[in-house]
């Protein structure tokens, strides 16, 4: 609704509060319209190999959602937008939007996850002349696969040019879905915002991008202009300290500049992968575990992958359970080469009761039981403010975590008992360090540690080991700051397997927290 007030008149300084959430369909629609097909946003499997664990909402989609919540501004045109993408947005989370419109020419929208600021967008408007006409935007064939530029390719002065045009039908759908008409943004403005998303997500740097900041200035659409948009983007700097890429770019129609952008994006480094060579350096071959049958829940990536390789290198038959990351699981299986153990892949959701029953039956039929159960799986881990409105997420995380360990244990403890096997739970040093952002994670780990104690009391022949590794170098910590001080997974895996190979394990629950 438009507010009848003078051009520079003040509006309420009190922010309006509302909520917004995003669905998988919203991501698909934005992707189709903007032509930003970065897999971080649209591929479950790819997103699992990133620190975010699940597809991330396009930051620019968050900005459009914010724009759609402004008061109508039929007499204004967007002149500039300044955006800070503070934290990644997830699907299905109700975010709080706070809209401040101190004047008709300025609006600030902040998007929060409870108390955590996720995105801040500042919009500046200018008066719209009566004769301002909106130029249609022509569709253009754009690249369909995200570039994969690593930091060594990101040299200052490197330019990328091309034609850009969103998909017309899908653009109209996005405008309708987010109620963007009448907000002072023309189809070309929205196209320019989508272009920034496209450039960062598909071109510079492409696949590895995590969009961080954008300054976008729009130029007036006066006079006749070509409909086809072309862009020219140049790398200004790559900051090695932060893995931060700074680019500037222009979007033009013929000789007329439509928008000028300054963009910053983090460039994610390669996903850390466990190395069998490093493991065998740390873990000489022994006969102690030879012929044992092991099941690693969550064994395709990170510490689970390293434990899988380490056990196989000791002559175990290892069942590698994974849920979605088939490519990663295959890589671990193939990495074994001529090492004398074997790895078999067992796809499935370890929190599914039927899956637990099936695995138990298969293990008993084929091997007579199980010797080593390693519970390593976790739901995607995101910081979670400890406030009442986030308690549903808190409960969901607990329930999922408990099921991922509890269902395999409930299905397999009796077979471990029959063979005096090992029940191993990968907990975390966080149960002692208690970081402020992880109340759900700490609670889940502590709860499952409790279950381990119960299991040890009621299945006395089973050896129990709780592992509390420090911060590890995994997909989860593969960020600029996250990598600092993180322990390689091979080091932790070697310590765990050394403990399992101990010829005379002590009774009761053992804790491994020194690596």
């Amino acid at each position: 609704m438009g507010l009848p007030e003078p051009s520079s008149g003040s509006r309420s300084s009190l922010p309006r509060k509302t909520t917004v959430s995003f669905t998988t369909q919203d991501l698909a629609q934005f992707s189709a319209a903007s032509r930003d097909r970065n897999p971080l946003h649209i591929s479950e499997e790819y997103a699992r190999t990133t620190p975010y664990g699940e597809p991330v909402v396009f930051g620019m989609l968050g900005v459009l959602a914010a724009l759609g919540r402004l008061s109508d501004r039929h007499d204004r045109l967007l002149q500039r937008t300044s955006i800070e993408f503070r934290n990644p947005l997830a699907v299905g989370i109700p975010y709080r939007l706070e809209v401040s419109e101190p004047t008709t020419d300025r609006a600030i929208v902040k998007l929060y996850d409870a108390t955590r600021l996720m995105l801040k967008a500042t919009f500046t408007f200018m008066p719209r002349h009566g004769d301002t006409r909106e130029t249609p935007v022509q569709e253009a064939a754009c690249s369909t696969e995200a570039a994969d530029l690593k930091k060594e390719n990101l040299l200052a002065g490197t330019r990328v040019t091309g034609a850009y045009g969103p998909a017309t039908t899908e653009l109209a759908e996005v405008i309708r879905r987010w109620k963007l008409s009448g907000k002072g943004a023309t189809a070309r403005h929205i196209s320019a915002m989508m272009w920034a998303s496209f450039v960062v997500g598909m071109e510079l740097p492409g696949k590895r991008a995590v969009f961080w900041r954008l300054e976008l200035t729009f130029h007036a659409e006066d006079g006749p202009q070509e409909n086809l948009l072309r862009y020219d983007v140049t790398i200004q700097d790559f900051d090695e300290r932060l893995d931060l890429l700074h680019t500037t770019g222009m979007l033009s129609a013929g000789t007329t500049i439509c928008a000028a952008a300054e963009m910053w994006a983090f460039v994610r480094q390669d996903s850390p992968q466990s190395s069998l060579t490093r493991l065998t350096d740390l873990l000489p071959r022994s006969e102690q575990l030879k012929g044992k049958v092991a099941l690693v829940i969550g064994g395709s990536r990170g510490l689970g992958a390293a434990i899988t390789q380490a056990l196989a290198s000791q002559g175990c038959t290892v069942f590698l359970n994974y849920h979605q990351c088939t490519t990663e699981a295959e890589r671990i299986r193939m990495s074994l080469g001529s090492t004398f153990g074997t790895i078999e892949l067992v796809q499935g959701d370890a929190s599914d009761i039927q899956w637990g029953r099936t695995v138990r039956q298969n293990l008993i039929e084929r091997y007579g039981g199980l010797d080593l159960l390693i519970c390593n799986a976790s739901p995607p881990i995101r910081p979670l403010p400890f406030v009442p409105e986030k308690f549903t997420q808190f409960q969901d995380f607990l329930a999922q975590s408990a099921a991922m360990a509890g269902i395999p244990m409930s299905a397999l403890l009796s077979t471990l008992d029959a063979r005096s096997g090992w029940n191993v739970f990968i907990s975390s040093a966080f149960v002692k360090d208690l970081p402020p952002e992880w109340p759900h994670y700490v609670t889940a780990k502590c709860a499952i540690e409790g279950l381990m104690h119960w299991a040890a009391a009621h299945y006395p022949k089973v050896h129990s080991l709780i592992v509390r590794p420090p911060k590890l170098l995994t997909d989860q910590t593969n960020t600029t700051v996250g990598r600092q001080g993180a322990m390689p997974v091979e080091q932790a895996a070697a310590a765990i397997v050394n403990r399992l190979a101990c010829p005379e394990p002590s009774q009761g629950v053992q804790i491994l927290d020194v690596f």
Binding site: R116, L117, R241, L242, P383, E437, V481, G482
Partner: protein, 78 residues
Amino acid sequence: MELHDRLEEVFRQVFDNETLTLTDEMTAPDIEGWDSVAHINLMFGIEQAFGIRFKGNELADMKNIGELKHFLVDKGAR
């Protein structure tokens, strides 16, 4: 504006807290929301505001706000 006030403004922006008041004795745990993401925002914000550049993760090694202010003065912060 004095260096202290300018620094306080950067902190207020980064931590989205208009009432945040800095003291020389303050450390990271005293400021709600000082996580890894905020740390990068803060580093970038200070560099932009004062025209300086941290080496590596110099900011993380500083023991408190007082030390950060001395650092900025020594660097000839604009």
